[in-house]
Amino acid sequence: EAGVAQSPRYKIIEKRQSVAFWCNPISGHATLYWYQQILGQGPKLLIQFQNNGVVDDSQLPKDRFSAERLKGVDSTLKIQPAKLEDSAVYLCASRNSNTEAFFGQGTRLTVV
């Protein structure tokens, strides 16, 4: 079974630039999550999708972050404009009703 795919693996941008991350969840997994993991901390939930609908985006900084899952499969997370404090690993995870969450390898973002 293929795992959760994320790209790119690494990204370096200057502050105020924009960036987008892509996630392809495990086939058949209706629930998709985006987490932000800052160095030395545990992952923190940004947004949760059920199919193509948003379940919870209460912790997403909506002034600069956006996410979509248009066809209920792949998802993109965008930051515009980026700040220095956005430097982190962005993790995508997916699950269905019978499994725990499976995580991708993450995208390491460095904002300089």
Partner: protein, 113 residues
């Protein structure tokens, strides 16, 4: 306000001995607890879980204990192996939170050969 706390950033154990990783939580609505393991440059992988209706769950060398009155859980690894060296995250969720996970900050376990 950290709802899930792992107060030990690191732990070193000799191969073959027991590793005990601890986790405390504050939110009484949490009713499901998990441990994830993370190797460098990889995403977290699920290890073991426990529901609040139980106080112990075992899977091979891994056992998780839950003390609801103390809001404390622990992960025991016996015997510890060098391949167990990784960061271990404690996570919790509530039935009504659509299984969203709240993570602790992690404990780096190093198993010395």
């Amino acid at each position: 306000d950290q709802q899930v706390k792992q107060n030990s950033p690191s732990l070193s154990v000799q191969e073959g001995r027991i590793s005990i990783l601890n986790c405390d939580y504050t939110n009484s609505m949490f009713d499901y607890f998990l441990w994830y393991k993370k190797y460098p440059a990889e995403g977290p992988t699920f290890l073991i879980s426990i529901s609040s209706i139980k106080d112990k769950n075992e899977d091979g060398r891994f056992t998780v204990f839950l003390n609801k009155s103390a809001k404390h859980l622990s992960l025991h690894i016996v015997p510890s192996q060098p391949g167990d060296s990784a960061v271990y995250f404690c996570a919790a969720s509530g039935t009504r939170s659509a299984r969203q996970l709240t993570f602790g900050s992690g404990t780096q376990l190093t198993v010395l050969p």
